[in-house]
């Protein structure tokens, strides 16, 4: 029983480390942007949130989280299971979608200078999906 407790504790620690360092600290650049936006508007409210990632930064972070998840799922100690492969496919598809979306966003940014509110909503959804799939990858990792 002691062995099982250690394994679960190790996994819990790994998930917490992932949430802390990969998810939270990867938003560091956006935090600096938050300070700049707050300075610009002399305050901050919810309507300024899209300004934090108006150049598609969230898509880059989403891509990095998906790539991290891919690495974790491919580096399995025991043989690949159905759930591992399924999770890997989800992460790869999300990486593809976020990369493609960033391509479209980059062309819009070059033309206008920032993305519109509709696309910024999509960026946020994609980022949350990448976090969810990345969380699944960390849980499924051996």
């Amino acid at each position: 029983m002691a062995g099982h407790k250690k394994t679960i504790a190790e996994r819990g620690k790994r998930v917490l480390f992932w949430l802390g360092f990969s998810v939270l600290f990867s938003l560091g650049p956006l935090f600096v942007n938050f300070l700049l936006v707050r300075e610009k508007h002399h305050g901050f409210n919810r309507s300024y949130i899209p300004e934090l990632y108006e150049q598609g930064e969230l898509l880059v972070i989403a891509g990095a989280l998906c790539a991290d998840g891919m690495g974790r799922l491919l580096n399995h100690k025991s043989g690949p299971t159905f759930l591992n492969i399924f999770c890997l496919i989800c992460v790869v598809v999300l990486l593809f979608i976020s990369s493609t979306e960033y391509g479209f966003v980059a062309s819009q940014v070059r033309a206008v200078g920032h993305i519109d509110s509709f696309v910024s909503g999509d960026c946020l959804i994609l980022y949350l999906c990448a976090v969810a799939a990345g969380f699944g990858a960390v849980c499924a990792e051996d």
Partner: protein, 72 residues
């Protein structure tokens, strides 16, 4: 595209959590390791051994112990 992303995100999350719970269940219901003691010495057999394999190992050790006239 967003629909596919939502599907992949939720499916990946569910797959990962299910895998975690399955591993947790297997770990919890794993048979404990078997320890065979001969005199003062003991040996741990892996818990992956089947009952037949354990019986074979114990029989072999009993044989060896009988030859050495050591209690098992």
């Amino acid at each position: 595209m967003i629909g596919l992303a939502l599907f992949c995100g939720s499916a990946g999350l569910i797959a990962g959590v299910v895998k975690f719970l399955l591993d947790f269940y297997r770990e919890r219901h794993r048979r404990p390791a078997i320890t065979v003691t001969i005199g003062d010495e003991s040996i741990d057999l892996p818990n992956s051994f089947t009952d037949t394999q354990v019986a074979q190992v114990v029989a072999l050790l009993k044989d060896i112990a009988a030859k050495r006239e050591s209690p098992i």
